[in-house]
Structures are given as structure tokens and as C-alpha cells.
């Protein structure tokens, strides 16, 4: 049984919204008087009931408790504003919780951005030292690793040049080289993958995998890249509006989270003609992607047929329209362009649907654009990227876990039979 290295107990964080001015001074004095002098509860912070709490207060986190064991790689997921970064900042000792406590064992390094402590006027060499010390490295550590850091970043020739003259790529490489050579017991990483190119991201992930899996250190990791979380972490926490929605084995939590996010992204509708996307000819009222799935909590996988439903206002009388559905991969490559035959329509609402069969697309992220043409060739309106979805992999009985090739994964039937029994 691995030892507990971080114990988070009942952490809450309240941010006071609104302006700071003379009102806040009075409020501060009142709070200070009540809590410090006559030793009462903070009049502005009642934890038991939130209904009467002033709407000036925002609960970024509410009653969060969990343990992290030695060697765990814990992913923290959730939509923007769910409190992920606040949680990491509390564990990193940057912000103070409003209630609760965190107990921990071992040296903590947090990487909440790349290049913390860097000063543009200073040389690469100076910055390695100052950033290293700021992040809590010792002199011996930096000296021992200095050459490694320089090698890793590949900036040897520019070591004595002020980093304001570096290209942004060089800057990020140097900054990451420093953090990659930290040797904490607990590593906290927030969204650093968002910067840098694909190569850099791969390097980051590789390094983090080494840290957690080979060296057995504890890692807390926030990212929007679910694939990265899945690759790296064994446990995950899903935060929603500052509370723990789900905690447990990484893939389970990630799947539940994805399923809930997808529900949200799959439908858009507009009631007001003026505000709806479109132009003088066409205005969209609704676009919706309806998966043919029994349990709506399950994530979409490659077996599920997807029905694209749309509704739009046609603002021209007596016109011949055709509708096209374009499906793009995440990389922006068009997978197919499916055009309807032309039909004549009057002014008014037009509704339609088109189903993408199950067992056709490969796993991955996709987006859909809709196009409406007049007389088959004149484009009236192109509704770009109006829907997006992710398809999870499903292998069933196949005991092979490599990446399945191709943009589509159709199941065209094979006809295979044995024709002779001997090798004549």
C-alpha cells in the first residue's frame, strides 16, 4: 500500500467579486473586528448555507477532499472555471484556501507556466540560475545539471545573449529545459502543454511520463487534452463548479466527462431570426447531432450512428435548394462532402436530417459544416464548423491496441473462402 503524500481536507476558496473601494475597507474592518478582536464567525462567510450568501462571492472551490498516494499520476479535468487551476494554486501554496487544509510530505515543484522568474534583459545563463532558484532548486542541483539543461534546450551558442533576443521557440525550449530538470517529490503541472509546437508537447509529455512512471514520483496534472490525461494518469478528478463530480480510475472519469461535454456541444438553436447565423437568404434555427445510442451517459464510440438534424429559415421565394454536409477531421482534412439532390422550396422553415452510419468513421475528433446551395452551384450560406464531436475507440474482441489507420473505418464485407485443400 503506497503512502499518502498529499491529503486535501475540505478545501474551499471564495473569491470576492466586485470593485474594491471604500466599501471593501469598511467590510474588511468589520471582518477583522469580528474575527480577530471579539472572536466570532466571519460575518461575510457562512459555510453552512449558501442561499443567503451575497452574490458578490464566488465559490471557486467547495469542500474538496481527496488523497494522493505516492507514485500516483492524478489528472484534474473539468471545463473552464471549474476550479482546476485554483486547486493547483492552493496545493502549490500560491493562494490560500478560505477553509480547510492540505497536508503533504516531500518537496513540491509547480510548473504553472513556462519561464517563471525569467527576465528578458538577462542572459540565458543568468536566467537558468534565477529561474532554477525561484523554482526551489539548490545550488548543487543547478550546477550538476547546468550542462544537461543547456544541451536539452540547444541554446549553447546563445547562452550569453539576453533572452529578449531569443526566438519564442528558443525561449520555450530553455524554460522547459529548466523545469524538466527539477527533482521534486511531487510535481504539479498546469496546462503547460498549451504553449509550444507539437514537438515540444511530445517532449513535455515524454518527460512527465518518465517522472511519474520510471522515477515513481507523484504528479498532479491539469490539461484540456484528454488524450494526454489518459496517457499519463492512473487516477483523475473531475471538477464541476468547484466541486468534485467524479473521482477514480482515470479512463472512467475521462469517459464520463467527455460524454457530458459532448451533450453540450451537440446542439445549438436560435429562436430569434435576427440573431441566428446566416444572411439575407438563409438563417439557421437549429443544428443538432443526435447519436443513436441507448444510454446518453455513455461516450460516443465508432459504432454509433449519428443523425445530423437541421432547421433553417428560407428567406427567398420559389428557389431550388440543395444541402451539403461536410465532415472534417480535427486536422482540417475533409473526410466527405455529402450533397442532397436539389428541390424547390417556398419562403419559410425548412427541416432536414442526414445520418452518418455507425461503424464507418475511425476514432478521433470531427467537425461538421453545412452548406446551402441554390441551383446546385451557387453558395447561399456556408455554416462553418457548426457541430463538433469526438468518437471514442471501440475494439470489442480484437486484442490489439495500436492506432487504427485511416480517416474512416468502414466494415465492408469480405468474401473469403477456401477453394482447395491441398497445395497443388
Amino acid at each position: 500500500m503506497a503512502e499518502t503524500v498529499i491529503e486535501v481536507q475540505n478545501i474551499s476558496k471564495v473569491y470576492r467579486l466586485g470593485q474594491i473601494g471604500s466599501g471593501s475597507l469598511r467590510r474588511d474592518l468589520n471582518t477583522w473586528w469580528k474575527t480577530s478582536i471579539i472572536k466570532k464567525e466571519d460575518p461575510y462567510l457562512m459555510t453552512e448555507d449558501t442561499s443567503h450568501l451575497s452574490n458578490q462571492d464566488l465559490w471557486a472551490l467547495k469542500n474538496i477532499s481527496f488523497d494522493v498516494k505516492q507514485g500516483d499520476a492524478l489528472g484534474i479535468i473539468g471545463s473552464n472555471g471549474s476550479g482546476k487551476s485554483t486547486l493547483l494554486k492552493i496545493i502549490s501554496r500560491i493562494v490560500q484556501p478560505t477553509t480547510g487544509s492540505v497536508r503533504g510530505v516531500g518537496k513540491v515543484s509547480s510548473i504553472l507556466e513556462v519561464g517563471t522568474g525569467f527576465h528578458p534583459e538577462l542572459t540565458g545563463r543568468e536566467n537558468i540560475y534565477i529561474s532554477g532558484y525561484t523554482l526551489g532548486m539548490t545550488k548543487a542541483e543547478i550546477q550538476r545539471k547546468f550542462d544537461e539543461i543547456v544541451d536539452f534546450s540547444g541554446i549553447e551558442k546563445f547562452l550569453d545573449t539576453p533572452i529578449k533576443r531569443y526566438s519564442s521557440g528558443m525561449y520555450v525550449r530553455l524554460a522547459f529545459a529548466v523545469v524538466a530538470h527539477l527533482e521534486p517529490d511531487i510535481l504539479i503541472v498546469d496546462e503547460v502543454l498549451a504553449v509550444g509546437d507539437a514537438d515540444f508537447q511530445k517532449k513535455c509529455l515524454g518527460k512527465m511520463r518518465d517522472v511519474s512512471q520510471k522515477e515513481g514520483r507523484t504528479v498532479l496534472f491539469v490539461s484540456h487534452f484528454m488524450q494526454a490525461i489518459n496517457n499519463l494518469c492512473n487516477k483523475a478528478i473531475w471538477l464541476k463548479h468547484g466541486q468534485i463530480k467524479e473521482i477514480g480510475v482515470c479512463s472512467t472519469v475521462v469517459n464520463k466527462y467527455l460524454a457530458s461535454v459532448q451533450q453540450f456541444n451537440l446542439k445549438q438553436s436560435w429562436d430569434n431570426l435576427q440573431e441566428a447565423p446566416g444572411n439575407d437568404f438563409i438563417r439557421f434555427k437549429k443544428v443538432e447531432l443526435v447519436p443513436q445510442i441507448e444510454n446518453p451517459d455513455e461516450p460516443l464510440d465508432i459504432r454509433v450512428p449519428l443523425t445530423v438534424k437541421f432547421k433553417f429559415w428560407n428567406l427567398i421565394d420559389d428557389v431550388s435548394l440543395s444541402i451539403g454536409l461536410h465532415l472534417f477531421s480535427y486536422g482540417g482534412e475533409c473526410i466527405f462532402d455529402n450533397q442532397s439532390p436539389s428541390m424547390n422550396f417556398e419562403k419559410g422553415l425548412i427541416e432536414g436530417e442526414c445520418t452518418i452510419p455507425g461503424n464507418f468513421l475511425n476514432d478521433g475528433s470531427y467537425f461538421i459544416s453545412l452548406v446551402i446551395n441554390r441551383d446546385t452551384s451557387i453558395q447561399l450560406f456556408y455554416f462553418e464548423e457548426c457541430m463538433a464531436f469526438d468518437l471514442e475507440d471501440f475494439r470489442g474482441d480484437i486484442k490489439w491496441y495500436g492506432k487504427w489507420m485511416g480517416a474512416v473505418r468502414p466494415r465492408f464485407p469480405f468474401r473469403i473462402e477456401q477453394t482447395t485443400f491441398t497445395l497443388e
Partner: protein, 285 residues
Amino acid sequence: MLSTEKKIKWVIEAKSSYFNLNFKELLSYHHLLWRLVRKEFLINYQQTLLGPLWVLFQPVITTITYVFVFNNIIGVSIGGKLPPVLFYFAGIILWNFFNDSFSAASKIFRDNIHIFSKVYFPRLIVPIALIITQFFRFLIQLALLVIILAYFIIFRGFSVTFTWYLLSLPFVLLIIGMISTSIGLLFSIITAKYRDLTNFVDILIRVLLFITPVIYPLSTVKGHTRWIVELNPLTPLFELFRLGLLGQGTVSSSQLLYSIIFMIVSLSTAVLLFNKQGGKLIDVI
């Protein structure tokens, strides 16, 4: 793998106490401290023609102006036989030391928010690094003062008898450094939250200059206004500085005691409040 017994244990709690100053932790960051001092010097003289000479340029120009305006135009009496150049230069460099460490300390949160919001280290490291930086700047200026003094002694026949007061110089610097940094820290905490008070700080410093014996000696202040100058805890320190180095100044032990008590009170208030509020301020900046 390391055994967990050797590893440090830590706790983060909602309440921060006034008395959680962790000296051991502070000491473990001494390398960072020296790097920050070095950084201050490096970034100030990066891409400049005269480099560190700028440290001397400013007080020299100010002294020339003061001598010209106060001595030649207005005719302010500085009392005694002390050459005006020495009198003003000594006052100016000591005032600069006070003023610069005060204003640097009062901007700590504003200037370091990008680092404070991304990484933890004992925040007190930053004000300590600032005061050390200012102290080094002062030493360079003091060296020039000593050179000017030597010039007047050798070539102008100025004579100064060095007394035991000379030994009080480090003590004067320590008290001035502590007072400026601790009051600066107090203001940094207040102005982090109430931004408009920075205007007040600027005015305060300007007024303070005129009730400190920088451009006049205490001995020339007569009558019913003298108590204002004497209320200023900096007054005996400026007088003692000139007395020790140039042999002219008025200071009593009770005044000095007042300055010391003022230092102790302001320093302990500042450190305690910094401990208590430092962690919370990040939310409001």
C-alpha cells in the same frame, strides 16, 4: 526511492498566523536572494553607456544643484565651517538610500505579481534582496563621498577630527535601512489593495524630505517649529551620520533611542503583517 521519513512535511491552512516566520526556510533560499540582488544590478546597467557610473551621476548632479540653489542663490546657512559640497552630498546619498529602499519596498507586490502568482517561495526574500541592493548602491556613493572628503582635507586644508562617532555609521545605516524597508512593506500591503493610496505615499515622501535635515542642519532650526523636525525619527540618524563622518551634527541619546524604538515597532509590525497578509494579497492584486 527515498524513505519518507527524510522528506519535509508541510501544511497549508486557511488561517495564517502572525508568527509563522520560518527562518530555516528563509535561509534555504539564500542563493535566490543573492541572484535577485545580482539581477537588480544587471538589469539596471544592461545596454547603458555609463553602466554603474549612473549610481554616482544622480547624487553628483543633485549636489551641484543644491549647492547652487541653496548656497549661492538663497543663501541657506549650513552652520559651521563645513564645505557645502560635503554637507549636501552626505545628506543626499543618505536620503537616496532611505528613499530608494522605501519606494522599492512599497512596490513589491505590484512589481512581482507575475512571479508571486506562479510560484511559491518565502516572499520576504524579495524585500531583503531589495534592501541589500540599495545598500550596495549606497556603498558606492559613500566611496565617492570619502574621495571628496579626502580631496578637501589634502588640497583645501579642511580638517576633520575623527571621533568614536565614526563607529556608529554601520549602526545608522542599519536603522535607516530597517525603517525604510519596513514602512515600505507596510505601504506595499496597503497599496496592493487600495491602489489610490500610492499617490499619498509619493506626497508623504516629498514632505518628509523637507522635515529631514538633508538640506539644512538641525542646529539652524530654531523656535517653535523645531519639534516637527525632531518628531521625525530620521533626524537624529542624519545628524549622527554627518557627525561621525564630517564632524558636524547635533544628536542626543534620547533622540537616538526614539529612532531605535521606532525601528523596532515598524519592523515588527511590517514582518508580522507581511506574514499574515502576504498569502491573501494575491487574490486582490
